[in-house]
Symmetry: C2
Subunit: 330 residues, 2 copies
């Protein structure tokens, strides 16, 4: 498998140097692997820190900036960052108003963010945590007890980030983040496996002519394999898997997400099918975001995340944001 | 080759329905295949129309919006749109101030935009044209006489779009567009072939362990094939190929572009190497854009585009823009 890299061992620091070069609004600590909003901490503002294994870009580093995260901590590819890293990030962005950790539900991340919270609290930083676990495909998986955290992370980071930007206190930012997670559900599909730099090739086998329904963002097994389906059939299956678990009685934010290697042309066609299914199921769509936001390296495939919103969540979603991966209003 | 589609024949209209669903700021005429800024034409404003074969998204439809294009005309995958389509788009966005056609240098596009200009002028629309031909890899190619048009298209559309938004007249918008094209050079590299829906598989063979230097955005042959290179070696080769042809004596805009399937993690690492080479060659970088902007379906690989800017071009680059693919300041 050919990759645009120097050597597998330096993929993460190489990318951090590129982020530093491209984004003067960010401060990148390559040594300690922290991507931070320039100027942080901000007087009176709750700090938002997330992180996780690399390979899901733009998540999380691409969501650092005004109106979203204050810092992101990338681990090695598909590997949790370490507690020192998140504790250091928390201390760096804490203005005294406390810090919210946004944690995707993978065992390594959960353990390491818990340890980081203890370390940060020892240093006098008040920490709150939100666990993101939106993926309805399976309970318990290769790296998870309970549901996996996937696309809802973007909604949590954006909406909690907007509240923090407006000056909401830590308990309010944390409760909004939990509300968003509880109102969100995701389902993902792989057409191909992904290849990690360390392995140098596909991390699992997915034969020609088959797809995997309910895939995880690290290629963890989903619900089942089937013969290749059309875009419309995949939309039906994915949306129905979500609606079996959550029946929205208010409009939703819809994220139609690419896993990395699926062309945007195909993804927009899929978005049309997702809208068709939602209309047939009488689910109103308030906003739709189409693109590669929560990826799995070079995997071809897609996921759908729906988040039921009230007026306040929608207002916070629409609030200005200025990050490399998501930007409007500034 | 598995694709997220219904049937190959409806890939373009399916995507147009998705664009319409996701972007209420755009008006999408699915029947005539025109993506238009809502509210166009705008009193006194020069209209900007581009288009070309589909498969390069977000180019061009993703660059329709405030501060950039007024309309885009997608053809079938890797196939020029038809003259009626562009003429209809021109008439729709003309406020009386005239319309600039932005045309990538491929024989089909050039012929069809010429015919569209005649049709539009017959209807009383004043037309100016700019031809984008920035790719230094080869002269004459599979679909081109002369140099191919690639990444510079984004710079031309953004900078000319900003000038039009400020109320510049047609001759000024057109001369700025030509200035940007002349100040821009690109070079691209493929690690894999791309697959078109119609063919259902790779459009050419690129063996494991080899890359193609100087690839075109439709997979047209480049300069040469070599054994796989590191990210740093590719950056050296690509930047030097550009600098052999253009020796900037002012800062440049740098587009570090993914061909579609290369993970953003790898692309940022490549951006770091591009910055290293530019620093070694004493070329100052004013702005850097990293991402999948001018793509070739599911091709893995990258391209570099440099555009030498003066203060006025840089000011217009930084001006606000609100499109699905490029957004800041609004």
């Amino acid at each position: 498998m050919k990759m645009l890299i120097n050597v597998p061992e330096t993929v993460v620091p190489d990318a951090l140097r590129g982020i530093a070069a491209a984004h003067p609004d960010l401060t990148v600590d390559v040594e300690h692997r922290i991507i931070m909003r320039k100027g942080a901490p901000f007087e009176g503002k709750v700090g938002l820190v997330s992180g996780g294994g690399s390979g899901h870009e733009p998540l999380h580093g691409g969501f650092v900036g005004r109106g979203m995260l204050d810092a992101a901590c990338p681990g090695e590819v598909f590997t949790s960052p370490v507690p020192d890293q998140m504790a250091r990030a928390a201390a760096a962005v804490d203005s005294g108003a406390g810090v919210l950790f946004i944690v995707k539900n993978y065992t390594g991340d959960v353990l390491n963010f818990d340890m980081a919270a203890e370390l940060a609290e020892d240093e006098g930083v008040q920490i709150a945590k939100v666990l993101v676990n939106d993926d309805v495909a399976v309970t318990d998986s290769l790296y998870t007890a309970g549901r996996r955290g996937t696309g809802a992370t973007l909604f949590v980071e954006k909406i909690a980030g907007a509240a923090a930007e407006e000056g909401a206190p830590l308990d309010r930012v944390a409760s909004l983040a939990r509300q968003v997670n509880e109102a969100s559900r995701s389902f993902g599909v792989a057409l191909t496996a992904c290849s990690t730099p360390a392995k140098g090739g596909p991390t699992f086998d997915l034969p020609d002519g088959e797809l995997e329904l309910g895939i995880g963002i690290h290629g963890e097994p989903g619900r089942e394999r089937r013969a290749m389906m059309t875009s419309g059939e995949i939309a039906d299956f994915s949306v129905d898997a979500i609606l079996e678990d959550m029946r929205p009685d208010a409009p939703v934010l819809a994220l139609v997400n690419g896993m990395g290697a699926t062309p945007l042309l195909e993804l927009y066609g899929f978005a049309a099918e997702v809208h068709r299914v939602l209309a047939e199921r009488k689910v109103a769509v308030a906003r739709t975001l189409v693109g590669n936001y929560v990826t799995s390296l070079d995997m071809a495939g897609c996921s759908v995340t729906l988040c039921q919103v009230d007026e306040e969540l929608l207002r916070l979603w629409d609030a200005p944001v200025a990050t490399p991966g998501l930007r409007w209003g500034y």
